[in-house]
């Protein structure tokens, strides 16, 4: 399933795909950060964007969330062409950095981002904090939280409005192993409830927690499939080796 099928031009309700990219290209001057990506992502699944630093994962997520305009191609989320400000109320985005206000308490951060998404219900804000097990730190100033706690707070701020689509940019970087297990537990729970989740990572050891993987290299999706499928296709037990195999293939093909 390398470089999945060519997709018909998207209609306003882009079929069943929660996320659809068609011929996405993003150039920064001479740098081609995203170099022609086309894919459909189905609802209620966890997708892993795997690739080394600088391969274009963050840029892809920023294109899909409408944070930056594509040089070429289109992105649709839940059938709406991005960028679209109103549609952002249905999207959660946990950025690569923590992106929380250090002077505010954990509770104030969650409340503020809740209000930004239109959530005025205090119970829903509390629920987000409980989900990441920060309910007891609600009154702690975010700047004094530990790194892992801040990461959890960042996650709470991204899902306080219960979005059906969630983008998580390297959510587990700098997070201790125990917390990682918890994070993945949350992600699975959300996906089971119908949330589409896109998780980027530059490490392979979390890959098998995703339903499907997209290997990203130099702005291109070089392979797509479940961890098992990709290993089988590459003829190796090691995903790392599989990635290298696919990289070599495209390098030869190119």
């Amino acid at each position: 399933m390398v470089n999945s099928n060519p997709v018909p031009p998207p209609t306003p309700d882009a079929g069943e795909a929660a996320i659809r990219a068609v011929g996405l290209v993003k150039r920064f001057g001479p740098v081609v950060a995203v170099d022609g990506m086309t894919f459909d992502l189905a609802p209620g699944r966890i997708y892993g964007l795997l690739g080394p630093n600088g391969s274009g994962k963050t840029t892809l997520i920023r294109l899909l969330t409408g944070m930056t305009r594509a040089t070429e191609g289109t992105a649709h989320v839940l059938g709406v062409r991005m960028p679209d400000r109103a549609n952002l109320a249905r999207i959660g985005y946990m950025t690569q950095g923590d992106g929380v206000y250090p002077a505010l308490t954990a509770g104030e951060n969650a409340q503020f981002f809740g209000a930004a998404y239109g959530v005025e219900d205090a119970a829903q804000v509390d629920e987000a904090l409980r989900l990441v097990e920060l309910a007891d730190r609600a009154k702690t100033i975010a700047g004094t939280l530990s790194g892992g706690q801040r990461r959890r707070l960042s996650l709470a701020c991204a899902l306080v409005h219960k979005p059906p689509v969630l983008f998580l940019d390297e959510p587990t970087v700098g997070v201790d192993p125990l917390l990682r297990v918890q994070f993945w537990g949350h992600f699975r729970q959300l996906a089971d409830a119908g949330t589409t989740i896109v998780v980027s990572s530059h490490v392979m050891d979390e890959a098998d927690r995703c339903d499907e993987l997209l290997f990203v290299r130099a702005g291109k999706v070089i392979a797509r499939g479940s961890g098992g499928q990709l290993r089988a296709e590459a003829g190796t037990d090691d995903l790392e080796a599989a990635f290298l195999r696919f990289s070599g293939e495209t390098a030869v093909a190119a």
Binding site: T65, G66, M67, T68, R69, P83, R85, A86, L88, A89, I91, Y93, T95, Q96, G97, D98, G99, V100, Y101, P102, A103, L104, E108, F112, F113, A115, A116, Y117, G118, E120, I141, C157
Partner: protein, 382 residues
């Protein structure tokens, strides 16, 4: 524009600032200390601690009489006077700093005879010298002119507006207040917004339905609230003088600068507030070009110092070199300083055309800066 989201932004900005002690001190205490110091220096600089050495070239009765008169007049003006043994002794007294100015009387000094009295200063500090020369010349005129046998006419000073104030701070106060509000509001907003950019929270905020217009509005309102408090406190400090009677060994003091204001303090408040709202947007705008907080500070000499020099804060706009004059029209601060002087000294109200123009320009600048800030919130982002 959603009022709820703007309210959330305003609340966030104010909570953040309220917890930031150093910034609060910068906003509320620093301007009071600086304006207080400025006033103290201006009001108490000249006169009292001038040390004058008098040396006479001749030794006749006329010389003795005149130097005696002079001594009396200078001492009466609050200066410390010493008689130097010779012109050379007076010169070295000025050189080593034991005297700040020397009066050298010529040997041929006599009533009814044209002769030159020389005033000798160190020359390292031209503006300080000028102040001393004026004070000493004044005393010479008053003290010895009549004994020289020439009746000099005396000068009187009147002004169209107000009275010729003996308070040297009066013309400076409005300008200094305006400048410091501008300065501190810019600095604080610039640094705050830079943190918003570099801390990743702006990117995150832009990934919510919040619009750029709401962000700028939230900032203007949030920082505007603090600016309002700052202006109110600073103006009160500048205008009142609450006498505290002497307690035990402590002398009586006045709290506040007690600067006279002929017009409406409320109108002055509005003018400074408009200026401050422009400064909020200027801070947002300039933070685009900074990567670190230090760089926000580095914009001060580029953006604020020229305004300080060209807006009539210290140097009168009319006395600027003619090539620089056109630039004055591009300095928002100049309009605030002009309006405030009109209000403080002339007692102008809103019916005065000058004040109307100043306020209109300040409002237009605030709107323009807000629009520019809006444009620059996300350069790459949509």
């Amino acid at each position: 524009m959603s009022p709820r989201r703007v309210r959330a932004l305003v609340r966030r900005v104010t909570v953040e600032l309220r917890r930031d002690r150093p910034s609060l001190a910068l906003l509320f205490i620093a301007p009071i200390v600086v304006t207080g110091l400025f006033t103290f220096i201006l009001r108490d600089a000249s006169g009292p601690n001038l040390r004058v050495a008098i040396a006479s070239g001749g030794s006749g009765p006329a010389a003795a009489l005149i130097s005696g008169r002079l001594d009396g007049a200078l001492t009466g003006a609050g200066m410390t006077v010493t008689q130097a043994a010779s012109v050379d002794a007076a010169r070295s007294a000025v050189q080593d700093g034991s005297a700040s100015i020397a009066i050298l009387l010529p040997a041929d000094l006599a009533p009814g005879k044209g002769s030159t009295i020389t005033l000798l200063t160190k020359g390292l500090d031209p503006s300080g010298d000028a102040g001393q020369l004026a004070a000493v010349s004044q005393a010479i005129l008053g003290g010895i002119a009549s004994s020289m046998g020439t009746a000099l006419p005396s000068l009187a000073h009147q002004t169209v507006y107000g009275t010729p104030s003996s308070d040297p701070m009066a013309p400076f106060a409005p300008a200094i207040v305006a400048f410091f509000v501008y300065f501190f509001v810019y600095l604080l907003t610039g640094v705050s917004f830079l943190r918003e950019r570099t801390g990743g929270t702006l990117e995150r905020l832009m990934a919510t339905p919040v619009t750029r217009g709401e962000v700028v509005t939230g900032y203007i309102l949030g920082f505007g609230l603090f600016a309002m408090l700052q202006v109110a406190i600073l103006l009160t400090w500048a205008l009142v003088a609450i006498r505290v009677p002497a307690i035990g060994p402590l002398p009586d003091v006045a709290i506040g600068l007690g600067i006279a204001v002929a017009g409406s303090p409320l109108l002055a408040f509005l003018v400074v507030l408009l200026l401050a709202l422009g400064a909020v947007s200027l801070g947002i705008f300039l933070s685009t070009f900074a990567r670190t907080e230090l760089q926000v500070i580095q914009f001060i000499p580029v953006v604020l110092v020229p305004q300080f020099l060209l807006s009539g804060v210290l140097f009168s706009v009319d006395s600027l070199p003619s090539v620089l004059q056109p630039l004055v029209h591009f300095m928002p601060l100049a309009y605030a300083v002009d309006a405030l002087r009109e209000i403080f000294i002339r007692g102008a109200d809103l019916s005065v055309a000058d004040v109307q123009l100043d306020i209109a320009v300040l409002a237009a600048v605030a709107v323009l800066f807000a629009a520019v800030a809006f444009r620059t919130i996300r350069r790459d982002v949509v």
